[in-house]
């Protein structure tokens, strides 16, 4: 049994989660703001984290804010936006040394919590607007960030695969927003959006570390409070995409190694009963170094250094990644497709199934040794709209049968094959 006690309270229009753990020498606080993906707001949501890091009422510049963090024993602040299923989530993370482990320190915790409140609720403003100078500067930073995905060829190929695969779906939206939307954004508009976000987003606060739970909760209720008039909208399910014929997209760049990324629809989501069978499926197919993809693409045929797969739990996608020699495209593709066929035919041993289950369970347990891992795992339940404790997850994984894996495999459909290859490396069929 895993001992992980999450105390949940809904108060002040905020969902509070406290987790007491003696494992760590620091305290981790994460505040999450969640809203549905929307082309109208995505660029503003991508820009907001950059603006909020530029200072608060009392620490009115990035430098002043960072000096305060340094003074709190090098507390680490990060604010980022991410896409989870059809949601966009802004996470404010603050990690600071637990005063228990520092001689003669008693105020780090209080000061750090207060600082985080200020970063979220009392940013630096000029009346009812963010300073335009800061907004313009941060627009440039975001613009560079949007552009730089092109520099990381694995991330780029992944983005292009989702572009093609999820055309006209919410999930197609880019986490970092769009350069063409930046021109229209100014300080006043950003401030308006920020105000509505504070009211309308679902807000969750997680605190993890070695502290007294009751005292911590009281402190949190005192510090974090907001007025919210609107019930947060939950991302609703989109219609099931019907795949008539799978897509093949080939693009070129002056690169040395081709990236072969393949997207499938699993038709199975976090909420579904066969989600656990899908987890085991992925472990057998491409999740581990013992999986079919690694063994066949890499070990047996020396075609790649990496060949793996992962599942997206909220939309229901299975994504395969590998880096290959351009001229080996067809060979690699055939081997990957052959592995999928074997998965559907149930070509794996009971012992392999049991090994994979153990690996999944042990991976979960290891996640629980990392503070951010614990918080992300707990938040998964909020996004997936289903209560699922780590112990329940483990029990469900253990019970998956071979028959269930075959059934979940049969639901998987090939959607899009994306190849980024070197110029002159396109092989005609």
């Amino acid at each position: 049994m895993i001992e992980l006690v999450e105390t949940k309270t809904h108060k002040n229009n905020i969902y509070f989660h406290t987790i007491v753990s003696k494992k760590f020498k620091t305290v981790n606080v994460v505040v999450k703001c969640k809203a549905m993906l929307n082309r109208e707001t995505i660029t503003k949501r991508a820009l907001l984290p950059f603006i909020l890091q530029q200072g608060t009422e009392n620490y009115p510049s990035e430098k002043a804010l960072m000096m305060k963090l340094d003074d709190l024993y090098g507390a680490v602040l990060s604010i980022d936006g991410a896409k989870k299923g059809n949601n966009h989530i802004i996470s404010f993370r603050l990690e600071f040394a637990n005063e228990k482990f520092i001689n003669n320190e008693t105020t780090v915790m209080d000061e750090a919590l207060e600082l985080l409140r200020e970063i979220i609720f009392s940013p630096r403003t000029e009346g009812e607007t963010f300073p335009d100078k800061i907004v313009d500067r941060e627009k440039l930073t975001l613009k560079n960030k949007i552009g730089s995905i092109y520099d990381d060829k694995i991330a780029y190929a992944n983005m292009r695969l989702i572009d093609e695969m999820c055309k006209d779906e919410l999930f197609e939206l880019h986490t970092n927003g769009y350069v063409e939307d930046l021109d229209k954004i100014d300080g006043a508009e950003m401030y308006n959006y920020y105000k509505s976000l504070l009211q309308e987003d679902r807000m969750d606060v997680y605190v993890l570390g070695d502290f007294d739970e009751a005292k911590m909760s009281d402190k949190l209720f005192e510090i974090f409070n907001r007025k919210s008039t609107i019930d947060p909208q939950e991302a609703n399910e989109e219609n099931h995409k019907v795949i008539k014929k799978s897509n093949e997209i080939i693009e070129t760049q002056p690169i040395q190694q081709a990236k072969l990324h393949i997207g499938y629809r699993t038709n199975t989501k976090y909420k579904d009963d066969d989600y656990f069978a899908l987890q085991v499926f992925n472990g057998l197919f491409g999740g581990f170094p013992s999986s079919k993809l690694f063994i066949n693409v890499r070990e047996k045929n020396s075609l790649a250094y990496y060949a793996s797969s992962r599942i997206e739990s909220h939309i229901g996608l299975l994504l395969v990644f590998s880096g290959i020699e351009a001229e080996n495209y067809e060979k690699a593709r055939n081997i990957i497709e052959e592995q999928m066929k074997e998965m559907k035919q149930g070509k794996y041993l009971e012992t392999e199934i049991e090994e994979v289950k153990e690996l999944i369970i042990s991976e979960l347990k290891e996640t629980l040794d990392h503070p951010q891992g614990i918080i992300e795992l707990l938040y998964q339940q909020v996004v997936g709209q289903k209560e699922l404790s780590p112990n329940d997850f483990i029990e469900n994984i253990k019970q998956v049968s071979k028959n269930e894996i075959v059934q979940v495999a049969e639901k998987i459909e090939l959607d899009t094959i994306y190849l980024l290859t070197k110029e002159g490396g396109v092989v005609s069929e």
């Binding site: 040394a97 482990f101 020396s302």
Partner: protein
């Protein structure tokens, strides 16, 4: 078995040097689910010219052998060790750096068995012509993957600019061409010389009983025979103080140019005390000047010369050390010149007690954060061990640093001849 207690951070380590020379450290932690083990040799990509064990003459092996060897140790005559670990619920991994090669696993069950598997697979090499050939395709793809990564190219490009003779200027994995000439004999030669227990360290941390664990390890090692090893003769080329190349440009398909400024920090062999001092002060100084709370960051940011890709790092090894400052930038020339100017001006600055106190706090907070993770504790501890330093003493060392020491270091820190610039841009 000796017991080392560290009161300030509330940790206890058990250590023993075994009869065959292997140094073992055990750090039990009962509140975690997992155990992490790392078995490391003091051997990396820069150890390319040396005298093989029980031989008289120095040889030079093909570039990329240490990394190639790391890959091939997992493969045995009849099986792949990855699978053994996975069957025992463990996930194994390995890495090769300029100066070290490490094999590791994490597991939540069968801990003692997994420690034995770790020792046994590393101490039982099997290399064949066929499997060496097969690996060339896989490593070839690994090299090409790195060749397409602007961040890695910028890192290696800057190091190549800095170092004229030291083999740190060679890619860790070698090149597609250099690995093509690697033979199983090369692998055995390097293995026999550098994988001797006296050149290795084992660190296990997690949920286990230290007495039982030490007994298991000792018995395992007692069953194996090794020749005696009286130190290893490694060639350390003479490295000039100044950089080899002041500036270069690498063409890659990128959306925005990337510029790295390299500071060649030292070119001679550091003693243990020099190492400790250089690493601590160098790290604290670059962090002080270039972090968002420092005097330089805001100027660069306000002038639109950097974005959120801006980063800096410092590396200290016994025979080479350097610091890197890099960013994506629309104005490569201006950014590079501005950073150079800032660095050159530091000679005239001196820090005060307030600044020092914040620098120390920040560094201590960083160390405590590292200690949250079993992996980073173990990795750091063994890495420092080979340089004669106790990782858990670092917090105390930092607290004791004096303002005089830092200001004295600062005066000599930067010299124009030790600076280089590497640019990555599209054609």
């Amino acid at each position: 078995m000796n017991k080392l207690t560290y009161d300030a951070i509330q940790e206890t380590i058990y250590e023993k040097k075994l009869a065959n020379g292997l140094q073992v450290f055990l750090l039990p932690k009962h509140e975690v689910a997992k155990t992490y083990g790392i078995f490391m040799t003091n051997y990396g990509s820069t150890d390319r010219t040396f005298t093989p064990i029980q031989k008289e003459e120095r040889i030079t092996v093909p570039d990329g052998v240490a990394h190639f060897l790391e890959h091939k140790l997992f493969e045995k005559e009849d099986r792949d060790v990855f699978a053994d670990f996975l069957k025992q619920g463990a996930s194994p991994n390995a890495y090769t750096s300029f100066t070290r090669t490490a094999y590791l696993f994490s597991a939540t069950k069968m801990i003692e068995k997994n420690v034995e598997t770790l020792l046994n697979f590393v101490q039982d090499p099997y290399f064949s012509d066929e499997s060496v050939e097969k690996e060339k395709g896989i490593i070839g793809q690994e090299i090409k993957m790195y060749n397409d990564q602007p961040d890695w190219q910028s890192f290696m490009g800057t190091i190549k600019n800095m170092f004229k003779n030291h083999p740190v200027n060679i890619d860790i994995a070698g090149t597609v061409s250099s690995i093509s000439s690697i033979t199983k004999e090369d692998l055995y030669t390097c293995y026999n010389t550098f994988y001797h227990p006296a050149n290795m360290v084992l660190f296990v941390t997690g949920n286990f009983n230290p007495d039982t664990m030490m007994a298991v390890i000792e018995e395992n090692q007692g069953q194996k025979k090794f020749p005696t090893l009286d130190g290893i003769d490694r060639d350390i080329p003479n490295e000039p103080e100044h950089v080899a190349v002041k500036e270069n440009v690498i063409h890659l398909p990128v959306s925005i140019p990337k510029v790295t400024i390299g500071i060649k920090e030292s070119n001679h062999h550091l003693t243990k005390d020099e190492f400790l001092k250089q690493e601590t002060i160098q790290g604290m100084l670059i962090d002080y000047f270039f972090s968002p709370s420092g005097p330089f960051f805001e100027k660069l940011y306000e002038a639109h010369l950097i974005d959120d890709s801006f980063e800096y790092s410092t590396t200290v090894e016994e025979d080479f050390s350097f610091s890197l400052i890099s960013s994506n930038t629309e104005k490569p020339e201006v950014f590079a010149n501005q950073v150079k100017k800032m660095l050159l001006n530091t000679n005239g600055l001196s820090l005060d007690e307030n600044i020092l106190s914040v620098m120390k706090k920040k560094r201590i907070g960083q160390l405590l954060r590292l200690m949250n993770s079993l992996e980073s504790i173990a990795n750091q501890y063994v890495n420092y061990y080979f340089s004669g330093i106790d990782f858990f003493h670092l917090t105390t060392y930092i607290q004791e640093l004096s303002l005089e020491e830092i200001n004295e270091f600062l005066k000599e820190w930067i010299d124009e001849d030790r600076l280089t610039i590497c640019k990555i841009q599209s054609k």
